[in-house]
């Protein structure tokens, strides 16, 4: 037996493992896998009842002729969201996290293994309804889309600065209910921009299909090309 294989005795062992780095390494690995298959992925984040599923249904309706789309729906339990999105005619994978209040890189990696990534070019991932914990768990997407709705009250942006900072695009949803809720959409948008200068902010009423085109443009998904891969480019 060599010294290297000898058991240690009462000895300090250096480990030096940064858990946050491991979390982002898992996410980076997912991103590499998606890139290798030419898939663009969007992480949709919002509180319970903010309208994530309705917004995703709207995005799918507007984009399914231009992109080959798959959706991953994350929830603690049930496949209500998956069933609703499947009505739009795209494949949906429901992840039931059990008790976990967020998706993480590992859960998403296992989901990616179950999808035929070569047959899709746009993947929309509905995270678990929560704006606190998902901020600490990147899952490896190209865009993090943050959804705030006026029915959650006027302080959502300032109350969730960590999440707002990480988002690339923010949506103020249920704008049709702003008057009833006495929420000033412009003020809420300004709050988002003050917490995260430079973020794109879009206003929608997803239930009535309003603002979806603006959102598609903000996500950089608009364009004349009929395919996501750009093969129709001159």
């Amino acid at each position: 037996m060599t010294d290297a294989n000898a058991p240690d005795q009462g000895r300090d062992i250096i480990i030096d493992v940064d858990l946050s780095k491991r979390t982002s390494e898992l996410a980076d690995r997912n991103l590499d896998l998606l890139d290798a298959h030419g898939v663009t992925a969007i992480d949709v984040l919002g509180s319970v009842g903010s309208g994530k599923t309705t917004l995703i249904k709207g995005l799918v309706r507007h984009l399914k002729d231009r992109y080959s789309i798959a959706v991953i729906a994350g929830d603690i339990t049930t496949r209500i969201d998956a069933d609703r999105i499947e009505e739009e005619g795209v494949p949906v994978l429901q992840i039931q996290t059990g008790g976990a209040c967020h998706l993480d890189g590992e859960i998403v990696r296992r989901a990616l293994e179950r999808l035929d990534l070569d047959s899709i070019d746009l993947l929309i991932i509905e995270n678990v309804g929560n704006l606190i914990c998902p901020a600490a768990f990147p899952i490896g997407t190209h865009t993090r889309l943050l959804l705030l709705s006026v029915t959650e009250g006027p302080y959502m942006a300032v109350k969730h600065p960590v999440m707002v900072r990480q988002a690339d695009v923010a949506v103020i949803n249920k704008a049709d209910l702003a008057d009833a809720m006495e929420v000033d959409v412009a003020k809420l948008s300004d709050d988002v921009r003050s917490v995260h200068p430079g973020i794109k902010v879009v206003t929608t009423a997803a239930r009535f299909d309003e603002g979806i085109d603006d959102l598609i443009e903000a996500l950089g998904l608009s364009g004349d090309c009929c395919c996501a891969g750009g093969c129709c480019d001159a």
Binding site: P7, G10, R11, I13, D16, D18, R22, T23, K159
Partner: protein
């Protein structure tokens, strides 16, 4: 990051390293915990003790060093330590760090957002194992 998730990941990191070293017992675990992880050291210790039950690290002394939040301001380029309020209701009122020098929120977090498993102290495997 979550206290339970952090505890599970620390445990699996420690137990993996202990297994590699053929440790009979893990006596002590040393952790560095950044203020911006918003993890309460007492809660983390509690959960670690629970998830380590029945393992070679059961009963290990858990030493947590808390690291301050360090921000770099993208506007005035100063780097400073920011006090994170010790507030048990942080889940309801999350903390938004700002630059202490100029007050703006256009900052980068350059330290204090990590949870690092630094080291452990182990005892050797016995000859009969």
């Amino acid at each position: 990051m979550h206290d339970v998730t952090a505890a599970q990941r620390i445990a699996s990191t420690v137990l993996h390293a202990a297994h590699e070293r053929q440790a009979r017992r893990v006596e002590q675990i040393s952790i560095a915990l950044g203020a911006m992880t918003m993890i309460d050291p007492d809660q983390l210790t509690f959960w670690l003790e629970q998830v380590l039950r029945g393992t070679v690290a059961e009963g290990a002394e858990i030493e947590i060093e808390q690291l301050p939040l360090i921000v770099r301001c993208t506007r005035c380029d100063s780097e400073s330590e920011v006090a994170v309020p010790d507030d048990p209701i942080y889940h309801l009122m999350p903390f938004a760090p700002a630059c202490p020098a100029c007050g703006c929120e256009e900052i980068e977090i350059v330290g204090g957002d990590a949870c690092v498993v630094r080291s452990m102290r182990i005892t050797e495997a016995s000859d009969d194992e």
